[in-house]
Symmetry: C2
Subunit: 119 residues, 2 copies
């Protein structure tokens, strides 16, 4: 996958309506009208979002002229997840540091609590 594909995927995901459309499609195929229902948006506005998702290869559409259901295509999501995976050790490190800090803080609090009881 070239860097441009990854940029196209991240651009497509950088919008809450488009992410909500993907979440809806995760429950099954849907027509444009069905996808537009939960949003206070016109059909042309939804169609624009669908075009962005389609160009990014995140959705595919049926070929029937009347009923062109959209369905989720997860390939580009996997590539995005694979890219992010390289950074996992960094967020796990920050979590470890936070845990260590909380542990130290709890020990300090306990010590302080004991001192208060002694007085």
């Amino acid at each position: 996958m070239s860097p441009d594909h990854l940029s196209t995927t991240f651009t497509a995901l950088a919008d809450p309506t488009r992410r909500a459309i993907l979440a809806r499609l995760a429950t099954g195929e849907a027509s444009v009208t069905e996808l537009a229902e939960p949003f206070a948006m016109s059909l042309p506005a939804i169609s624009k979002h669908l075009k962005v998702l389609e160009r990014a290869g995140l959705i595919a559409r049926g070929r029937e002229a009347q009923w062109r259901p959209c369905r989720l295509e997860a390939g580009p999501l996997k590539d995005a997840a694979d890219w992010l995976e390289h950074y996992r050790r960094f967020w796990e490190q920050s979590f470890d540091r936070l845990e260590e800090y909380l542990h130290k803080w709890q020990k300090k609090e306990k010590k302080h609590g004991r001192k208060q009881r002694k007085n």
Copy 2:
């Protein structure tokens, strides 16, 4: 994390230069000049990219006036990975389907190969 934070993260990741900056910072802190080196880009152009990354919380910068090293902040990457994780079953399904298809195809090829040898 509100949907807007996720949109800001994905927007920041939707550029190959910004992803390359993050990859460089994964190897350790760096100054703006050091970050600019591998790119055929002016310092102001790199600074613009750094501002996008900083606003998205993907990097933090030191406070020293002269030497303000940038470092990676992985929190928003974790949130993006968590969002993508919801779709894992879809790309694993497609992989299973591909594997199944290849398996069937190999069986067919083998059968065909045996037939050819018989003739």
